[in-house]
Symmetry: C2
């Protein structure tokens, strides 16, 4: 049987709020074979010469850590305010109403390092763009932004112009 | 040079509040070699016949996903309320003041499955105990609770009596 990643993604209606169809990746994570194969497929999409992989809180941590070890790179979590214990760079991004922030430890990325940013879903691109700015604040080079799923109808790539991007699944 | 995991753990004073010395594992994650070696060391501590590895939100997700793929098991995130999109089992646990809850998808663990629970730190044991109860609600068998770090002066193991536990580092 051919492996189809989309068979392991569950649509959950009205989450986190009415009218939104949420792409639930937990069935994929819970299946040992699907977890391995998805990691392999993601690895085909990204450059091999990477110093650090960033995972965006919290669903970007799953495949972010896996990509890091397969690429023999370090792993860096980018988190919401108040979660990282040491000194951080901060970057704001727009929400539907208001703004939110993402943080990265100031010593997480060294000057000139090649950085792969990973998240599970590319939606409006606001968080991914903020993370790219964090990497640049630290002097790192954003080599690619990689996603498991791209929701193309939200035009997230517009915010990421000038960056290389890749996604395993596009809706 | 001998690999010493403790060289990659940073003490951060007064986080998350005054008087607490926080064990920051991000320097360990950010170092490609330390990340690999720590995964190998954790694997030596756990049984190999595991169906599902649970990672506890959010720092349990890093090595939780890595352990899952190395053990050829599925990965299950246990999360705070409101984070998992599908139907969940819930379990409350005591905080210093009041209580909090943890959630797991109702179809994450199948009856009779062997489950390894992983978190970065064993402190008072409250969250780990709650997760063990979630697994048992789903009909799974808790084979072991595994931690990167045990803060033994908080006596977390008392709450986990009757369960197998293992930790890579004990303070």
């Amino acid at each position: 049987m051919v492996f189809k990643i989309e068979n392991y993604i569950r649509d959950v209606k009205d989450f986190p709020k009415e009218g939104i169809v949420f792409k639930d990746i937990t069935p994929l994570l819970a299946d040992a074979d699907a977890l391995q194969k998805t990691t392999e497929e993601l690895l085909k999409l990204v450059p091999s010469d990477i110093d650090k992989v960033i995972g965006i809180e919290a669903r970007g941590f799953f495949f972010g850590s896996l990509l890091a070890t397969h690429l023999n790179a370090g792993f860096v979590p980018v988190r919401k305010p108040g979660k990282l214990p040491y000194k951080t760079f901060e970057e704001s991004y727009a929400l539907e109403y208001g703004t939110d922030k993402l943080c990265m430890h100031i010593d997480a990325i060294k000057k000139g390092e090649s950085v792969l940013i990973h998240d599970d879903v590319l939606a409006t691109g606001g968080t991914a763009q903020a993370v790219a700015k964090l990497v640049e604040k630290a002097g790192g080079e954003v080599v690619m932004l990689n996603f498991l799923i791209e929701l193309s109808f939200l035009n997230g790539k517009d915010k990421l112009e000038g960056y290389q991007t890749s996604s395993l699944l596009t809706y």
